[in-house]
Symmetry: C2
Subunit: 255 residues, 2 copies
């Protein structure tokens, strides 16, 4: 199978190197920045193109791997009849590309990809979607070349899953950052918390987090909660987080 | 060295088995429930006692490993002149035991201990405190028998660290539980999120979470944020969490 890629960022590097390694042939890497496009093309022995010169409709699948806010602008210049056009954005509906290609789809890796440290395993989950049967054949073959963990989901489901990734990954990281800052303020090593955090995440592999909840809010221990809120008085935003999460925990375990 | 333990729960099992394995000799396990005390005493080849008959002052260190709210009641019946008395509660001041023993302290494992699945490593962090030099000698020897990761901290620091454990462990677990419930509601497998969660936690070992923040709030992407808030309209408590954390992220990365 043949593929082309529009974009030269982290996702483009991931998709291009994985597909090339799987034996797919690349017809071209398209980028706004010619040097960036050449760098990725050199990595997989392909050709690079300046995006402003237009994208050739010469591959089985064309992977649009640009930032979410650039999709609309890039798509406006495309018109495909042969290639299946897919975008790679978790929170963007498939419809944004439906008018510029006969066959469309979405391929979203549920992972934080960094091009200088690409994952070597085939265990990066990919959620995908196809507009029709011909697109489905091409996209599923492409996805299966990259991962062992694929899941077909419509745009509404995928956008919900993107929300859960924000909640369980971006938001938890902010809680870690708050904990780290409190440790710095009190002259404590944040590393003391690493084992208990790692322990809880390891448990996720086999146990539902809903059954593993502990802490003052779960115990409805209002004395400790008031004391801890008072300790956060220098950080009213963190107090609001503390209150909102505690209320939600008490609500989830009210019986 | 010799030790005694008051309590028969998870922490009691952890401390007793670790100290016995390290060659410490146990003078007695004291419990309200005689069967529970005998069970732990049998495990380490010691003697068990009914707590209501009084605790002997016959060990180098007596470890009070009862639930936070029971400490006051149990302490009221103690009077030690020989044994160093320590409690094991992260959020409780050392002062609550100062009137019943000449030498006091705190030994707090920063970990979620489950007696049926005790950690085998010596990598469970322990935060400790001692009232005076004689207590310090006994407590540091006890701590070093259990862990390679010990940290001396006063009550104020330890209680702050307990708060950071609530934030980075109990609160994050609730976010995982919310994500899981959204997945169930939308017929998505929660397991798709496990690799990205594990990835973020693995990064904590070498990178500050404050430098790893991503997501709509970090990008000040208000369009996505409003859309995601709308997706949570059936769960107003979760909307309040979403808003509070997003505001805090935008504040932390406002420049």
């Amino acid at each position: 199978m043949t593929f082309s890629i529009i974009g030269t960022g982290n996702t483009a590097w991931f998709m291009a190197t994985k597909l090339a390694a799987a034996g797919f042939s690349c017809t071209g890497i398209y980028g706004r920045n010619a040097d960036s496009a050449r760098s990725l093309a050199d990595r997989i022995g392909s050709t690079s193109y300046d995006l402003s010169n237009g994208v050739k409709d010469d591959a089985d699948i064309c992977i649009l791997a640009v930032s979410d806010h650039a999709i609309g602008e890039v798509v406006a210049s495309l018109s495909f009849s042969k290639a299946v056009l897919v975008h790679t954005a978790g929170s963007v509906n498939i419809n944004v590309i439906k008018d510029v290609a006969k066959h469309t789809g979405v391929i979203w890796p549920v992972y934080s990809i960094v091009k200088n440290n690409l994952p070597e395993t085939k265990d990066i989950p990919i959620v995908w979607e196809a507009s029709d049967e011909p697109a489905k054949k091409v996209i599923s073959a492409t996805v299966n070349a990259i991962t062992n963990i694929s899941h077909e989901a419509d745009s509404s489901q995928r956008i919900s899953l993107h929300l859960t990734a924000v909640i369980s990954n971006n938001f938890t990281n902010h809680l870690f950052a708050i904990a780290e800052q409190i440790c710095v303020e009190r002259n404590l090593p944040f590393t003391l918390l690493y084992p208990i955090i790692q322990q809880s995440v390891n448990r996720l592999a086999s146990l539902s987090p809903a059954t593993q909840q502990t802490g003052p809010a779960k115990r409805h221990d209002t004395v400790t909660m008031h004391h801890q809120l008072d300790m956060l008085r220098q950080h009213p935003q963190w107090q609001r987080i503390y209150e909102a999460i505690s209320v939600s925990i008490m609500e989830m375990y009210k019986d």
